[in-house]
């Protein structure tokens, strides 16, 4: 079942990229997707039935909107710091605990953190995420955890866990 999911996703992706719907194109895509599924099928999606739950898709859309908004904010934030004559930076690496369990959710959270204002994920060790922050606003772990992970963690928990 896992292999079928990977196969379908790869095929859809192939069709979107090539955007030609003739028989030879689809056949070539099917062969390529089958190879991909055979190689990577065992790594992803331990429970494919999650794809069929509409609730998860809803939270995914909510997450996507929040994420795009955070991205735009991140850009203005960095542009401000770069163009400001005095360069208001206060960099450092902070440790943040996550409550997410699955690897997929952790990866998504790390990627989201990298794209949000002023933070880059340096490493994940167990449940701790190490984050380079361009302007540390607070020294209190509880406070900066909620600042960094923000609402992403709860949304990701709702659709990916």
């Amino acid at each position: 079942m896992r292999y079928v999911t990977i196969f379908i996703l790869s095929l859809v992706f192939w069709l979107l990229i090539t955007f030609k719907f003739t028989v030879p194109d689809i056949a070539a895509g099917a062969v390529a997707s089958a190879i991909t599924a055979a190689i990577f099928g065992r790594y992803y999606f331990h429970n494919v039935y999650k794809f069929l739950q509409p609730r998860r898709w809803f939270w995914f859309v909510v997450y996507l909107v929040t994420f795009i908004w955070a991205c735009i904010k991140a850009n203005f934030d960095v542009a401000y710091r770069v163009l400001h004559p005095a360069m208001p930076i206060r960099p450092g690496i902070v440790k943040v605990k996550t409550t997410l369990r699955s690897d997929f959710a952790k990866t998504l959270l790390a990627n989201s953190i990298t794209m949000t204002p002023g933070t880059i994920t340096v490493d994940i060790i167990g449940d701790d995420i190490y984050i380079h922050w361009i302007y540390i606003r607070s020294e209190d772990p509880a406070q900066y955890t909620s600042m960094v992970t923000g609402r992403f963690e709860e949304y990701i928990k709702k659709f990916a866990e």
Binding site: L16, V78, P91, V94, I120
Partner: protein, 105 residues
């Protein structure tokens, strides 16, 4: 017209990213500018391309490139930062905190 505006915004953000690469003090802060400004700049350009060509072949390809760009940019930034830290690149003297040090040891 909308396409030109979007592409201009993208180019301006890319320029901000490049200024950040020059002005910011150390490797970690430079990467912040490189990932954020350049990623959204490129996304803006791609959306502009999509608006220009419509939702045909090229437009769809531009749209599909956006998630790929997001994943590759974030993963590359993570790999570069981690690699630089393990290599021993010093952080700027303005840095106030380093929790990662004890985890690496």
């Amino acid at each position: 017209m909308a396409a030109i505006i979007l592409i201009s915004i993208g180019v301006i953000f890319n320029i901000f990213g490049c200024i950040g690469l020059i002005r910011l003090p150390d490797m970690y802060n430079r990467l912040q500018a490189a990932t954020k400004c350049v990623t959204l700049g490129c996304c803006s350009i791609l959306v502009g391309v999509m608006v220009h060509y419509g939702l045909g072949g090229a437009g769809f390809r531009a749209l599909v490139a956006i998630p790929i760009l997001f994943f590759t940019a974030t993963v590359a930034a993570h790999a570069l930062v981690r690699g630089a830290y393990h290599f021993g690149t010093k952080m700027d003297e303005r840095s106030v905190k380093d929790d990662y040090m004890e985890a690496v040891k």
